[in-house]
Symmetry: C2
Subunit: 198 residues, 2 copies
Amino acid sequence: MSEGEQDGRLLRGARSRQTVVRHAVDVASADGLDGLSFGRLATDLGISKAGIQTLFGTKENLQLAVIEGARELFAEAVLRPAADQPPGIARLTALIERWLDYAGKPLFPGGCFWAANLPVFDSKPGPVRDLLARQQQAWRDLLAGELRHIAEIDAESTAFQIDAVLTAANIALRLGDHAAADTARRTVERLLPERTAG
Amino acid sequence: MSEGEQDGRLLRGARSRQTVVRHAVDVASADGLDGLSFGRLATDLGISKAGIQTLFGTKENLQLAVIEGARELFAEAVLRPAADQPPGIARLTALIERWLDYAGKPLFPGGCFWAANLPVFDSKPGPVRDLLARQQQAWRDLLAGELRHIAEIDAESTAFQIDAVLTAANIALRLGDHAAADTARRTVERLLPERTAG
DNA sequence: GAACTAAACATACGGTCGTACGTATTTATT
DNA sequence: AATAAATACGTACGACCGTATGTTTAGTTC
């Protein structure tokens, strides 16, 4: 009758990992990947510290699992909805709108997961930093891919710029600037060529 | 004959604070303001943990002192050299060049101090977050002030954009993208009106 | 249902953290 | 020289950290 139940069955294996990771992502987006600890997660979830340690082994493994988990949530909230749109400016716009939603009414309580954690780990070589950097690059590549469907644009450099503006908007939002999303929207619009009719 | 000496005299008062803060800024730029601890600073500097505690009282006070110290170093490295230039585009360019230097060959071993710490504290209300946010705003206001000398430009929004690009360049630099400074330079140039002759 | 594996737990260890308190030492003031 | 104030230090405390080891429980396989 402990808390570590789900659907009346004790959490076991993959299902336990998922439960822990899901909560750990929230913790890490607010307090950073460093703010994670077996003890805290155990207390929050009402299960034993040693049980979590059994599932993940080391703290670094936990962090890596959490990063993967965050990416899945991000893909579900931002990438998948935009995949419906046709390639090019439509899909790009959808991605950006979804991203601003994602940063605004936080899927993650601490705002963008990568904006929160990359600056902390960018000076700490290791698997955590590498994984975060790879995911960030994948996101920028995705933006660049859509931009290549638009003529008269330097895809790489525009992708860099869009990502920069979105990240800055994320921080501004978290600091209480409610207009930041609109600012970002207008800024991005100006980066794209004059809108064609329709 | 302990390590806590300077010019042969024991460190006392303000001089001690300055010594500790100077080192703590380096630590905090690499490991974050959370990575600071009395014990670690004491070990690094070869003085006693309790001595540092006497100087700062609480950890939060230490963090606030470190933030102020970082701002002084930033002002010395970026703001003061650019102050020679005439207001407007010349001074703006000087600020940006100095900033890229500051982010590149690190005055702080962890790159831009605010880029590293703002994302961590933007979700944690308190004096530390407030001070960091105020300083960030002051920097953006400074950029906007210079931009107002340039016609046909939305000063606020361009300042937002320049800051966003510089911050993104800082992270890219730390992740090994050696071309990031040039990318940022070119991006900023495109934000300003066609260069007048000379 | 017996044997085996995987999962969850209990407990323990050394380490560091932040803070508190008392003591010695240095500087400043009288 | 005596006194007061500011500094620096030694030590101690409870709390949490990450990890390791052994044990119990829950599923699985034969």
